[in-house]
Amino acid sequence: MSELSKLKIAEARDALKKGDVTSVELTEACLAEIDAAGALNAFVHNTPDLALEQAKAADARKDAGSLNGIPLGIKDLFCTKGVASQAASKILDGFKPEYESTVSQNLLDAGAVMLGKLNMDEFAMGSSNETSVYGDAVNPWKVDDRKLTPGGSSGGSAAAVAADLCLGATGTDTGGSIRQPAAFTGITGIKPTYGRCSRWGIVAFASSLDQAGPMTKDVRDAAIMLQAMCGHDPKDSTSADLPVPDFEAMLTGDIKGKTIGIPREYHMDGMPDEIEALWAEGRKMLTDAGAKLVDISLPHTKYALPTYYVIAPAEASSNLARYDGVRFGHRAKLGQGDGITEMYEKTRAEGFGQEVKRRVMVGTYVLSAGFYDAYYNRARKVRALIKKDFEDVFAQGVDAILTPATPSAAFGLGEMTDADPVAMYLNDVFTVTVNLAGLPGISVPAGLDKQGLPLGLQLIGRPWEEGDLLNTAYALEQAAGFVAKPKKWW
């Protein structure tokens, strides 16, 4: 039974179609794995009854959708109707929305089964899943007895998929929150073009950067799942009214004649040799597959991280203002004589964790009178330059850009606790540019480091060309032949 949860989405889909397996069997297998994986702390709200009900319905369904009967995990950032959705924050304690996010609804409409909600960094702010009110999610990959971070913010999603607790999971990516945890856990994660997936019903962190995407066991699954998640949504004004091509059908593995850009600015000082070596291997794999490499320059790359850490907190400070204790979630107990101001202050002081508070304060500061032009407005201008860097290289004929996904392999939980917050922010150094430019980016597992931990490579594509990007990633995946799995210890 337990082998069933190891299936990939495409495999399960075929087995279901042939009648070799039922959705109830698949779902029960996953639920059993979830029950046994408490040590990973990946699933934080389980919905077994709902899952089995959906599985039964899927088994009975005649006109089956593309994900019919496939058990998935949903990041806690997605609002799911009647099911706790609290963005891993105390401030949304007890919140059960009366609505279903467009992305999760799209998945359900395609026949998917929801197993439960997945751990994450609080409000998706973090790169290690250590800011969660539910406690750390733990990477199924381990070195000796050292517990490692699965990355963040979609750490629970990454851990769950890597540990075969589910067949796939949703993630969201504001600065790298899909791609970095995917790289840390040896799975595939794609952040589509900004506007490809509806943001309606996803708790907002930084609205101009947030995008949902799938986290899966391979590129084909990413194509299948993204297909079901995305599409135009009139309820999100930033959702693009563009046709969605058949991503899976575009996976030919043929990238002959494609031009891959290698940005010189991504050679960072102090980058581990292993990352450099992996990147070199990736270049060779793509050349061997018939692609042409070109050196490119993205001159404003060095400003990306500071730009991101102005824009994202600015938007977050405003987006998180609604968590005030008035209508839902946590409200502080008040003392004698406390008024509305004390209610706000105590509720938010108790409800938000340290990292969220830090970003709300930074965001409030950069938007305040007298600092707006120096920080926020300047960051917006730099953002436009970063976007133009990419437009320029695409105009020169570059089809995709290859970079490392992260500057290191997964680090130990608690190791960064006393570090400067900026050290943690450096995890996003290769990924934030993609969010700032609104481009699609995918992380593909490409090898193991000396400790035996997975490492990922990132491919960045042209806007709206996820199909092409997935195909390049597919070619890279085939060349890398990454099949390693974490040894089960949980």
């Binding site: 997605f78 609002c79 959705s85 963005a87 949304l92 919140f95 929305p97 009366e98 609505y99 996010s101 943001r199 309606w200 019903g201 996803i202 708790v203 907002a204 930084a206 609205s207 101009s208 009139p234 309820k235 999100d236 004004s237 930033t238 600015a314 938007e315 400070s317 405003s318 998180l320 203002a321 609604r322 005030d324 008035v326 209508r327 839902f328 509305i340 706000y344 409030t364 938007l367 305040s368 009178a369 707006y372 926020y376």
Partner: protein, 503 residues
């Protein structure tokens, strides 16, 4: 162009101990956009619904909910801009204004700080004494209304009603071109009139659908002219903003009080502090709400949930082409086409329903006479019962029928008033009533002569007196009118009496 030309009114001047002071006023008028749905949600805007029943998830600031622009609100704002002869910005954008308040569920109001949808325009504000002020409009932007906090329902708790949260408002910002309390009231009245003509705001001040923030400062005679010449605000005094006024009377009281307060400070050698103030209608005074230092830092920034709003010139042109006739044009046309006085034309165009009623009455008839009857008889009668024109029991066709009977000489003015009362209370076709009830004026000279003869024969003493003093002939006319039940044509009676008496 308009035929209406006016002199500018004199600014309101207050005499202080150290000389004269003039008032300078600018206004921010908040007009609720007349639409069925809110600015960014599908929730209803209906007034008077159960608390918290017209609330979409996005209005309540629920996590993950997103705003989507309601095209109807954009259309109404463009229409209003065109009505105020303003520039329409094909590119505009929405910004967030951040502050905490329980009736602001998102923690920010979506507004348009940097790129408003409507730019500069102007409004002609007539003051009824033959003068008029041209008030420049700086901008109109769209924004969300807030909800309502209720503090007096429970001794320990406050309640919030989100029905109004997210309803679209147009904020119409004027330049400091208003020069006195009366002008301020007339300015709002004119905006209200134009928007009611356009159907973009119902102008109901009691229910808060039209409210104003009033900026007041005082300056010395001559300073304002220097400001106009240079557009340098340094020539004007420090202003105070009186928030959230929704009564014309209170606006005037507040301005007057505020100006006197500022003059007293200045003459005392003190300074006016720039601040936000509230008007207390019970005490008739303004008091400080918050100073400039305590002012919120709203941390405005472009709303990342909404793309910039781009509209097509063709779309604007189509709206412009379908604009109704506006009050100024209508008034000028009434004066020209019907020969009405400026005053009558103003009264008839004050509300577009009145104007439409009048035009239906005047159609193909004597315009001046129609105007008299609409204004004096109909409006007077409606006012007695506190009705407005839409509740009139007399249709324009009926009143037109009465006007026609007068013009033809079928009934006298006196009979016409009786007839009007019958039509008003009982209804019916005026011509038929006149016929059936024998109210037609007697112009048959034979019948009148017979009646005059009778009266003369019966009153020989009066005949002698009248022949000695022709002024007394009126007595005979009165007697004849009485005898004919008022139906005799008075002009004919007069002539025959004079002739028979040999005057």
């Amino acid at each position: 162009m308009l035929d209406l030309t006016y002199d500018a009114p004199k600014p309101k001047t207050l005499s202080g101990a150290t000389g004269d002071w003039e008032l300078v006023i600018g206004m921010e008028v908040h007009a609720q956009v007349a639409t069925k749905a809110k600015l960014f949600s599908g929730a209803s805007t209906r007034f008077g619904a159960e608390p918290n029943s017209n609330v979409a998830f996005v209005d309540a600031g629920m996590p993950g909910m997103l705003p989507v622009i309601n095209e109807g609100c954009i259309r109404q704002a463009v229409k209003t801009g065109l009505g105020l002869k303003a520039e329409i910005n094909l590119f505009s954008a929405f910004d967030r204004k951040n502050y905490f308040y329980p009736d602001l569920p998102q923690g920010y109001q979506i507004s348009q700080l940097y790129h408003p949808i409507v730019g500069e325009g102007e409004v002609l504000v007539e003051l009824g004494d033959g003068t008029a002020r041209n008030v420049r409009i700086e901008r109109i932007h769209l924004e969300q209304d807030a909800g309502k906090s209720i503090h007096d329902m429970d001794p320990h708790m406050s309640f919030v009603d989100l029905n109004r949260t997210g309803v679209a408002l147009m904020e119409i910002v004027s330049r400091p071109d208003i020069r006195g309390p009366e002008e301020a009231a007339a300015y709002i009245a004119k905006l209200r009139q134009i928007m009611r003509y356009l159907g973009t705001c119902d102008g109901n001040m009691q229910s808060g659908n039209l409210r104003a923030d009033v900026n007041v400062s005082v300056c010395r005679p001559g300073d304002y002219e220097r400001y106009m010449e240079t557009q340098d605000f340094g020539h004007l005094g420090t202003r105070c903003e009186i928030k959230n006024m929704n009564s014309m009377r209170f606006i005037q009281q507040a301005i007057d009080y505020e100006a006197r307060r500022q003059i007293a400070l200045l003459e005392d050698g003190k300074e006016v502090v720039q601040e936000t103030r509230l008007f207390d209608p019970d005490k008739g005074e303004t008091r400080s709400m918050r100073s400039k230092e305590e002012a919120h830092d709203y941390r405005y920034f472009p709303d990342p949930d909404l793309l910039p709003l781009e509209i097509e010139q063709d779309w604007v042109d189509e709206i412009a082409a379908n604009l109704p006739e506006l009050p100024d044009e209508k008034k000028a046309r009434f004066i020209k086409d019907f020969g009405l006085s400026d005053y009558d034309a103003s009264v008839l165009t004050a509300e577009h329903e009145n104007a439409a009623y009048f035009e239906a009455v005047a159609d193909g008839r004597d315009g001046k006479l129609a105007a008299n009857w609409v204004i004096n008889e109909l409006f007077g009668r409606l006012k007695k019962e506190d009705h407005d024109i839409t509740e009139s029991p007399v249709s324009p066709a009926q009143l037109g029928g009465i006007v026609e009977l007068i013009t033809k000489g079928d009934i006298s003015g006196k009979i016409a008033k009786e007839l009007f009362e019958i039509v008003y209370t009982e209804g019916g076709d005026p011509a038929q009533i006149v016929e059936e009830r024998g109210m037609k004026q007697v112009t048959d000279t034979g019948a009148i002569e017979a009646s005059v003869d009778e009266v003369i024969a019966a009153n020989p003493a009066q005949v002698e007196k009248a022949q000695a003093n022709p002024k007394l002939a009126g007595w005979f006319v009165g007697q004849v009118m009485k005898a004919t039940g008022g139906k005799a044509n008075p002009k004919a009676v007069n002539e025959i009496v004079s002739k028979k008496l040999g005057l």
